[in-house]
Every structure is written in C-alpha cells, then in structure tokens.
Symmetry: C2
Subunit: 282 residues, 2 copies
C-alpha cells in the first residue's frame, strides 16, 4: 500500500515519520510546492521519493493532505476527480466546515475523511517534525456519516498508530468550538504582542520585564501567517463572534476595575480558576 | 546574621531554601498569617522557627517581605517604625509604585529596598517553592537612590545567590512596563477562560478540542485572586490603559476580518512575529 503525503511540513512530516517507524504502508511518496522543503523531507526520511502531484494521486492508496486550509479547499475537489475509486484521502486542516462544504456534492465524497489532529505548535516546516508530535493528543473526525466505512477504518488505523484519541463531531460543531479552543488564542497572542509596539524605544528594558507569563501568553504569536490567515478566513464568522464575546469579557473586567468593584474581580477570577481546573490539554 | 521571612509561600519559601542551601545567614525566622503554611514551612526547612511578627522584626538583621502587595503596603510603614536602625528590609511585591509611595517620607525609608524578582508562576503556597525558582531570571530593583548603600549591597548579594540578573529602574517605570509584561497577560488569561462559560453543557466535547495553544494562553488563569486582586488594585491606572490599548488591537484585527482585508492580517501577524522573535523570557 503506497502512502502519498501532500505537504511535507510539521504535520505531514510528523505523520510520515511515525507511520514509517511503525512499518505501516509500503512506499511513501511525497510532494510539496516548496522544493527546498521537499528535499529536506527526503533527507529526513519522511518519504521514499518526491513525485509530481498528479503521479502521487494515481499511485497512492492513501493520500494525506497536510497543507494550509486554503490549499486543501482548492485541491481536494480536483484530487477527488482523479483518484482511483478505492483510494482513501484524508486531510489534517484546522478548520473543517468549508472544506467539507467544498466537496459535499462530489460523487466521490465518501472516499474523503475530514480530520483535525490537534497537535500543531508555534513552529512549522519539516525541520520541526517529530514522530511523537501526536502522542496522547486528540484527533477530531468530522461528518463521519459521509465517508465510507473502509475509509474511516483506514483513517482510524492511522491515528491509532499516531496514538491519538478520536473524537467524532460535525464539521460545524468543530469549527465553532475550535474558534475558542485554538483560533481565538492565536488572535489573543498576536494582539498582545502588538500592544508593546508603542514601546519600541524602550525595547531593551521592556524585554527584561517579560516573565514566564508573557512568554506563555505570546507563545502563539510566533505562528506564521501562511498557516493562520487561511484558517482565519475559513472560520471567519465564528471568529468574529468569538472576538466579540472575548472583548465583552475584557470590558466586564475593566468595568469592575474602573468602578472599584473588587469583590466582583475576586469572583471573576475564581470562576476562571474553576473553568480551567478540570482541563487536561496536551 | 538572622534572616526574617514574612510570608512563607512560593516566593518567600523559594528564597529561604536557596539562601540556606548556600549557607547565607545564620538563623532563619519565619512568620505567616496562615498557620498551616507556617507549619509546612518549618517541615520543609524554609526556616528554623516560627515567631510572632513583632519578635521577628526585632530579631532579624535582614527582613524579606514576601506577602501579597496589599499586605506589604499595610505592614511596611509599621515595620520601618520598629526595626533597628541597621536592619535591611526588602520586599518582593509585583507592583512597586504604591509600595514606595507608602513609605516615601518615612524617616527610615533608606533601610528599605524595593525589589521585584520576576519569577512567579501560576501555582502558589509553600508546597510550590523550590530553590531554583529564580535561576537566570530578572530582578527589578526600584528607586535605588532612596536606599542606603549597605542595604542595596545586602539585597544585591541575596539576589546574586539566587542567580538573578539585576535591572535598575524607577518604581513608576516598573509599574508601567509590568502592566503589559505580566498583569495584562493575567487579565487576558482570566478573560479567555471566561469566554467558554456559555458552553457549560458541552464541557466534555469542548475539553477535547483544547490543544496546547489553549493550554498556554490560559495557564495564568490558574492564578489565585488572593495574590492578583491586590496587584490589580495597586496598578489600577496603568492596567485600565493597558486593557484599552489591548482592546484597540483586537478591534483592529476584527475590523480587518470583517472587511476581508486579509493582506492587513498578514502584515499584523508578521509584525507580531517580529516583536516576539528577539524576546528571551525565562
């Protein structure tokens, strides 16, 4: 069974490394629009060979589409047009609704499985890949009733090799919850970093004042626009609402400060402590 | 030389452990308004004995005041009233301006050194203390011209044992910069956690969607109100302005989304990447 990996960055590379380590699949074929990354991918052993996209599509029994979400939306219908009828194709995009919508009426829709392995980090590219990236993290599989049983089976097999836990929800639910769980935190982090622009003449002293709290709250601000602008576009309506909900929360906090209603701030913090305390994210 | 530690939590405990490990000082005397914490502190070897505050004050050559900032503001003038004339007292509070203001005209002001070792974490209490907490982090020393040379010398000696780097600025500058570097990130984190209150019936599935990005951006939301409400009160004016600056940044981002000005979002992210890239926080 040949495995085709489209996009040989952090996610595609990490999947390949783990699958090959586990002796899943025979030949691994890769493609990447960035030629340098393709070369690195071969050197790092992600794939046996680099092939043009159209060759990869016909030669692979399983295709893993791990490129930015705008690329997935564009490529997926074309790939479905040309795959063999028994090929399984799965994507790893961070949004799911517009991707699923783009192939909803496609005659070969059932060969596609929409997934989101929640494992991204602030670094990207093949050099950040590692075979343990997914260990004990969650993978969301969306609209499973629209995929063939054998396609779901292969997909679950792959993610079980990656040691991920599967969660099954609709693509619509996915995009709503992930707008709070991942996309909003990125906007928060970019925006926090942006607040200190005005101190650019005081950069040195300011850097000395940044503790681990600043570090963790701005960690995501290292993330690249190539990945994130398409995600924001793809989840735009949920995100605009999430930003509004968040600004409302900040305004409530600010109002308590302005009115010196400090007992309310005490309660606000206790509720936040309570929301966080049961959460186990990896 | 007896060392008196007022407040035997994360900061006071970690300082004691490191100083004792390095054989600095003779007897360590401690006090804590929480009797259980005082007991734990003795068992963990922070101090040789627990004494009432007034005994500690007269028996110590160096007093380290590591309690919430509202406690420091209240206690510090009284402690200065009763210390011997050669005693050094330093505080470790996360705000500096109101603390310095509370003793500005005190006849013994010069025995006090205002410091902020930037090393706090989301956990608190004596059980979180460890002797390496301060390693290679920054310590801000404020308004140094108002302290006696020997008091500064002892303080610098203590922080050099903790292996901290010293930064010298005014208490006013400290509170401005720290409002962005630490206090605003805490408000951001409490507010982000609060956004998902509305999903309380979907808690289980939502928790599965929270990746490491949510984890790092809400890490500070575990912080306790006992520590943070007094800090927010003590730095209220800077914080209200910082929240405004931050909400403006979020609004700019949201406007770009609403108007589909995605090239501006690309630029916004690149600028944030750039601001973060040189920062080394520990």
């Amino acid at each position: 069974m040949n495995i085709g990996i489209i996009g040989l960055g952090l996610i595609g590379g990490s999947i390949s490394l783990k699958l090959r380590k586990s002796n899943f699949g025979d030949k691994f074929i890769g493609t990447d629009y960035n030629e340098k990354n393709a070369l690195i991918a071969v050197k790092l052993g992600f794939v046996d060979e680099i092939r043009p996209l159209k060759d990869l599509i016909v030669q692979s029994s399983v295709i893993i589409l791990s490129i930015p979400v705008d690329g997935i939306e564009k490529l997926l219908p074309n790939i479905l047009n040309t795959i063999r009828k028994d090929t399984v194709i799965l994507d790893t995009g961070s949004t799911k609704y517009t991707i699923c919508k783009s192939v909803y009426s496609h005659p070969k829709r059932s060969r596609f499985v929409a997934t989101h392995p929640i494992a991204g980090i602030e670094n990207s590219g093949p050099l950040s890949a590692n075979s343990d990236l997914f260990y004990k993290k969650n993978c969301i599989l969306c609209d499973s009733e629209l995929s063939d049983t054998d396609a779901i089976y292969i997909t679950e097999k792959i993610y079980s090799i990656l040691e991920m836990r599967m969660i099954y929800i609709t693509s619509k639910e996915h995009d709503l919850y992930i707008s709070y769980g991942s996309h909003l935190p990125h906007i928060i982090s970019f925006s926090l970093a942006s607040t200190v622009k005005k101190f650019k003449n005081k950069k040195k002293v300011l850097n000395h004042m940044m503790g681990s709290g600043w570090g963790s709250t701005t960690r995501l601000a290292k993330s690249k626009p190539e990945t994130w602008v398409p995600i924001f576009i793809s989840n735009i309506n949920n995100l605009i609402k999430a930003i509004d909900v968040y600004i409302d929360q900040l305004r409530i906090f600010k109002k308590y400060l302005k009115n010196k209603e400090f007992h309310h701030i005490d309660q606000y913090i206790k509720k936040a402590n309570d929301i966080i305390k049961d959460q186990k994210y990896v």
